[in-house]
């Protein structure tokens, strides 16, 4: 887990890139890689790479980056972890290739020498990669199937720049800060900025599961190599009994957790009171992780409520023999840290505060790597959306398809039930959007509905943004080809949008701002492929039951029978302390607070200057 960047002046007319810009961008990402820094320049100085290293596999300087292939042809920068690198290394060694490090970086480099860009189909893990081929004069960049690792680029028509962070590219000084209308519209619709857009017009994300080539004629269209919908659709003919489904999930989840333990440093676990993280903890123990340290985040404001996870997680930790560390965060600490949180936030998001504090806690006790249960709800039908979205679509699609139904309903609701519409604004749009799966999902996950944007955005920004973003088309594309079942459709929607664009982005910036690698064994392309046949027949609750039964000692009933609460932060109460405009309620229970928080976040991101942070040192 590291920070990478590069500048390539591909156009003959372009000035040679400067060392100062490369170093500024790299330096901004110091917190991502506190263990080392490196740069590389081509002989003609037309392309340069920068890298900040967080050493996890092979801690020696031999594994530093940028790494140059033995024959000098390829130069690599890489951020992430390749969990099947031992197997790939053995394969390569059988072909007569020798290694000088134990790192996965060298495995990627040697594999690329042999199979080129097809490498992305062989790597299990999370990655953002940049490889320069000195013979072909070609830059290859790639991002993992789920987009766990970020990769942003900017192309001004002469010079191509890429980096792990948006703010790092801005800090380089070579890129303008004009706002991207599609990013602004997307943020208001969902509370995060959807890929490939960013807050800035000149910067885009390489979409998850895509590769891209840049040569002296410029950047080619990103090429997709992975699609969640395709994986699910290809498995829809499988017919499994409920017990076969459960067995398949148990076996594959256990394999994934085992693979995600690959490290030369201690691996900890984020532990909440839910099934996902508890199962990951149990499976990690099964796979040989001895007495792992499990970290739980608690909030004094939640004491005595169902949102307080401390007591329950302590019982889970004890059940699996883990060393339990509880970190309690209060209002004072939040107010003290909020400027830093907003500075660390790479792109505006209404979430991520919990991840930021738990990562801070992990780093305080000296951890560099932690496993997270993130992704379990999306993969195994854990969210209410798996029930709501199909139900809404079935219940309302007929009426929603009638022209004018939405308008009439809005009028009636606003007249007859103004309080309801004020507290739950999206209710008024049910008959505008529930005619389709994508519309129903937008209703479920949307922060604001498209017609509401006119209250917040300039009409021209809104017009250009909606035209460019095409929110419903985006969602519809996620369902192409048709995943084949209700559960698979919602799985594709949640995994591709909410999880990929919000949860995974938040996990990255929040973890990396503390130099902590957050691993997500339940977000894994191989796992998805292997459990896809089971996803089609899952009823809400089945998947989580199977997950709870995955460890050799199944999660106890006090966990599986607990009502789902989500991982919430008492942000409403905290914001009240710094801004009396906010209501004193938590984010997870009141959409109005989310909306208000979203506006505050956006303002801070649009007006603030990017500020780099020095690497945070572990306290232990």
């Amino acid at each position: 887990m590291c920070g990478l960047n590069g500048i390539y002046a591909y156009h003959a007319a372009a000035n040679a890139p400067t060392d100062a810009e490369l170093t500024r961008t790299r330096g901004f990402m110091a917190a991502r890689g506190p263990d080392g820094a490196g740069t590389w320049w081509s002989a003609d100085r037309r392309i340069g790479f920068g890298h900040r290293r967080l050493s996890i596999l092979d801690l020696s300087p031999k594994a530093d980056q940028p790494m140059i292939s033995e024959d000098g042809r390829f130069i690599l920068v890489f951020n992430g972890e390749i969990y099947n690198s031992p197997e790939l290394r053995s394969e390569l060694e059988r072909l007569g290739i020798s290694f000088i490090t134990k790192s996965d970086t060298e495995v990627i480099l040697n594999l690329y020498r042999i199979i080129g860009k097809k490498i992305v189909e062989r790597l299990r893990g999370m990655f953002a990669i940049g490889i320069w081929d000195t013979i072909k004069g070609e830059l290859f960049i790639a991002r993992d199937p789920y987009g766990i690792k970020p990769l942003y680029y900017s192309d001004d028509g002469w010079t191509f720049r890429f980096a792990s962070q948006v703010k790092a590219l801005i800090a380089g000084g070579g890129i303008g800060r004009e706002s991207e209308p599609a990013g602004l519209v997307g943020f208001h619709l969902w509370g995060h900025i959807p890929d490939p857009f960013t807050l800035y017009r000149e910067i885009r994300a390489l979409p998850a599961g895509h590769t891209m080539i840049v040569d002296r004629w410029g950047a080619r269209q990103p090429e997709r190599y992975f699609s969640i919908a395709e994986v699910l659709a290809s498995a829809k003919t499988a017919r499994l009994s409920p017990s076969d489904r459960a067995d398949l999930i148990k076996e594959q989840v256990a394999q994934s957790v085992r693979a995600h333990l690959l490290a030369d440093v201690e691996v900890g676990v984020f532990l909440s009171a839910g099934v996902d993280s508890g199962a990951v903890l149990g499976l990690a123990g099964d796979a040989g992780l001895s007495k792992p340290r499990a970290i739980t985040l608690g909030f004094s404001e939640f004491q005595g409520t169902s949102d307080d996870e401390r007591h329950m997680s302590e019982k889970i930790a004890k059940y699996y023999g883990a060393e339990h560390i509880v970190r309690t965060v209060g209002k004072d600490e939040f107010i003290r840290d909020i400027p830093r949180i907003l500075a660390d936030m790479d792109q505006p998001t209404i979430d991520g505060i919990n991840s930021w504090f738990v990562a801070k806690a992990a780093r305080e006790i000296g951890l560099k790597v932690a496993l997270s249960g993130l992704g379990g709800d999306e993969l195994l039908a854990g969210y209410p959306s798996f029930t709501d979205v199909p139900r809404w679509w079935r219940r309302y699609r007929w009426l929603a398809g009638v022209p004018g139904a939405g308008f009439v309903t809005r009028l009636l609701l606003r007249t007859l039930f103004p309080t309801l519409v004020a507290s739950r604004p999206k209710v008024a749009y049910v008959f505008d959007y529930a005619a389709s799966w994508e519309g129903s999902y937008l209703l479920r996950r949307g922060l604001f509905m498209p017609p509401e944007l006119c209250h917040w955005l300039d009409p021209e920004i809104m017009r250009v943004g909606l035209n460019r973003l095409r929110p419903l088309d985006r969602l519809r594309n996620t369902l192409t080809p048709d995943p084949g079942s209700d559960g698979a459709r919602v799985c594709a929607l949640e995994s591709t949008h909410y999880m990929r664009d919000q949860l995974l982005r938040d996990a990255d910036w929040a973890g990396m701002s503390h130099g902590l690698e957050i691993r997500t064994p339940l977000v894994d392309a191989l796992l998805l492929r292997d459990v896809a046949p089971a996803i089609h027949g899952l009823h809400p609750g089945d998947g989580k039951r199977a997950l709870a039964g995955s460890p050799r000692r199944s999660l106890p009933a006090f966990v599986t029978e607990r009502a789902k609460t989500g991982f919430s932060v008492p942000i409403g109460a905290w914001l009240e302390a710094i801004d009396d405009r906010h209501d004193s309620v938590s984010v997870s229970t009141n959409g109005q607070t989310s909306r208000s928080w979203a506006r505050s976040v956006l303002t801070s991101q649009l007006t603030g200057e990017p500020e780099p942070h020095a690497p945070k040192q572990a306290a232990a």
């Binding site: 003959a12 007319a13 000035n15 192309d155 002469w158 017009r201 885009r204 004629w217 410029g218 460019r468």
Partner: protein
Amino acid sequence: MSRSSLLALVTDAFGGFGGIAQYNRDLLTALASDYRIEVLPRHAPNQVGELAASPHQHKARQGRLAYAATAVTFSWHLRPDIVFCGHLFMAPLAALISRATGARLVVQFHGIEAWDAPRRLSRAAIERADLALCVSRYTRARVLSWSSLSPQRVVVLPNTVRDQFTPGNRTRARARFNLGEERVLLSVSRLDARERYKGQGSVIAALPNIVRANFNVTYLIAGEGDDRSRLECLAEEHGVRCRVRFLGKVATETLPDLYRAADLLVLPSTGEGFGIVFIESMACGTPALGLSKAGANDALCDGELGISVNGEDLADAICRALRHPSLAPAALAAEVQRRFGRQQFTERARALMNRFAQ
């Protein structure tokens, strides 16, 4: 195997005058070995001269309807593989033909015409393009600000410089324009009242300060148009009429000597799509000075090739440029060729068409 056919809908190309016509000529000539090119211009005021079989230019059709009807009829018979749209205002027609014939659509953006969002019909037509060529990074950025084109399809193909623009005998060139020992500033552009952003007026206003800084300076203004009388009055007002010479329209073959005769090309324009005169001048070994605005940044290479003035007093910047010339003429010309030379242009044009429009 027969070559692919390309139908070029252009305002003017062969027989035209000005930067857009020149760009079209350069581009179509660069592609002539790969495509069978049929050019349909709106205007061709000058003698077209002898052309090879490709590009083949047809008779100009000035009226809009006549032009559209000819283009549609022509495309129906030709069945082009590619439709090249040489100007934004022809985009709806080009998109219609492209759609009807299944041809790929390539749209060219020059400068100021593409900086603000066009009308809905034009925007929709442009967003159908397989490839959008822009003369500068600035034009590209502006197009991307209002269109939903994929950024990878919007590429920069800057103006190129023709072979006759090379360093030469400076003494002979100065003699040709009756120049003695004075320092010579030069602007080359149309004198159009609608294009006052070109900035000749700013140079005239700066002349008194340049003279006060002990420069015996003459300002040559090449080009003709309806703004000339205003500029003459301005020179009178500033008391520098005797230092400003209006040359009128300068023939293409005379231009290299004119650049060679000058000490500094000055065009403090705020609205250049690219600014071909900057690179023509530097290709002749004469440094060029412009504002750090819009497409001029590209021709000046952000100040690495030419002199890019950003917020500084224009007279001070000109004085400094006269005192400290940058590269030697031959080195400056070589650098222009490396960045904007004909070979670069041809290779890039062919590669881009091959990548996006095949």
